[in-house]
Amino acid sequence: MINHIWAILWKQLKDTLKNKAILIQFLMFPCMTVIMENTISIDGMPEHFFANLFAIMYVGMAPLTAMSAIIAEEKEKNTLRVLHMCNVNALEYLLGNAIYIVFLCMMGSLVIAFVGGYTGKGLLTFMLIMFVGHTISMLAGATIGVFSKNQMMATSLTVPVMMIFSFLPMLSMFNNSIKKIAKFFYSEQLYLLINELNAIEIRMETIAILGVNVCVILSCFIIAYQKVFIKQY
């Protein structure tokens, strides 16, 4: 099992360098953070403003789009069938990709954290929050990828979901009505946690919302995995 997961992980890492569509997902927000944090400074702007904002947009976008695109492409190009013939089971395949995506996203998050000036305990907490966010988004992406028949279907499903998860935290800063809706999504809750990093206080409401989000996404994933993916695999 470890052998198969490692082979898939290594293959994906090599493939990423040639896959511009996926590569840009991993690099876009860390690069934007570097640029914005170093070029824009406005009086009264909250500390780590761009790092925090782009970090949460990164959480909502990169793992979700990358995971759904990779699975959908493998289905469309029939490489998934070949993996089945090589005795790679569906769980090994998904785990290999999940580890790869979370690993690269964490590398990107580390860049954001350093540019944002996080050090010591703050850095660890920031990375932990990012890990939780990337894992949930990756699971949402896996659900879409597993459910979609091809890349086109995956893209049409990924874009609206990604917009909700990545843009709601930003939009909620400008509109209270949006804020009331956004608080039910994990990305908004994680954004609130990142912004309170110096005096973080884990509330029951946060845990409950994160728990419900994970349960809903996990349930969708299990249904899609059992009803669609296992039959296609």
Binding site: W6, W10, K14, K18, N19, K77, N78, V82, M85, C86
Partner: protein, 283 residues
């Protein structure tokens, strides 16, 4: 002789569409078996069932005595599959594609270079698959199928859409695999390919096997007219039967050195297929 594949009363349908109807076949170890049929006859569906990629609606397939729907990792290592749609990673090089599949098997000793040289792709080992021609992709797909040194090789339309030179190369590679003792199950709608390569063939039409046997025997079996086609040195083309008068004419042409070429009028597999189904193989 030992049996490599047994297909026992296999039927399959996709919702209302019946694709295979009661298929029974036995393929011996070391033989090249050809499944001939027009597009949509059910050839790929049968390969998918035999290789365990699809569960048949009815019936059982066995590979080396094992139920093909329950093949384990070690049993999968004994089969190689070349699919009609490649299933290669387009952004990776030829070498990296094979390296990946080899690493899935946990092989420590690599013979990728040897396999690439066998299929004539050693010089292109660092070329991205996306930049290969269709013939080169076919050869790489063949290389991937034989990389595990399989006991049974499944080739789905291995030369479909290829130029004559590449087709010849693929035929050479198939015959080399046969010489190594590999059992080969190939699907094709090319009758010449089947006649040239296969020890036994089955003609598949609308999901049913309509004829089975050795290509040469089938051609003789359906040779109802029993005629010879002669081309004389004078340029004249004539057709002779087995009648006494015609045989005397043939002896006359031979004795007087007037004969340029002589051919039997046996039907080819295409004609046999048309006789049996009223359809065409190369549809």
């Amino acid at each position: 002789m030992q049996r490599a594949i047994k297909i026992n009363n296999v039927s399959h349908s996709f919702k209302e569409n019946v694709v295979l109807r009661g298929i029974n076949l036995e393929i011996k170890k070391g033989e090249i078996f050809g499944l001939l049929g027009p597009s949509g006859a059910g050839k790929t569906t049968l390969i998918n069932i035999v290789t365990g990629q699809l569960n048949a609606s009815e019936g059982v397939c066995q590979i080396s005595g094992m139920d093909s729907s329950k093949l384990s990792g070690e049993q999968y290592k004994k089969i190689g599959v070349m699919m009609d749609d490649f299933g290669l990673y387009e952004r990776m090089s030829c070498f990296d594609n094979l390296k990946f599949y080899e690493s899935l098997d946990g092989n420590r000793t690599s013979h990728i270079d040897y396999v690439l040289s066998q299929v004539g792709l050693l010089e292109s080992k660092k070329v991205q698959v996306a930049n290969l021609s269709k013939g080169m992709k076919n050869r790489l797909s063949f290389a991937r199928a034989v990389l595990r040194k399989p006991e049974i090789l499944f080739l789905d339309e291995p030369t479909s859409g290829l130029d004559p030179n590449t087709t010849k190369e693929i035929h050479r590679m198939i015959l080399e695999e046969k010489d190594k003792g590999t059992t080969i199950f190939l699907t094709t709608h090319n009758m010449h390919e089947a006649e040239k390569l296969c020890d036994n063939i089955a003609l598949l039409n609308e999901g049913k096997i309509v004829e089975y046997g050795k290509p040469a025997e089938l051609c003789r079996k359906y040779n109802n007219q029993k005629k010879y086609k002669l081309h004389l040195k004078s340029g004249e083309d004539i057709e002779l039967s087995h009648e006494k008068d015609d045989i005397e004419k043939l002896i006359f042409y031979l004795q007087n050195d007037e004969l340029e070429t002589i051919h039997t009028g046996e039907p080819d597999l295409e004609m046999i297929f048309m006789t049996l189904t009223g359809g065409e193989l190369n549809k």
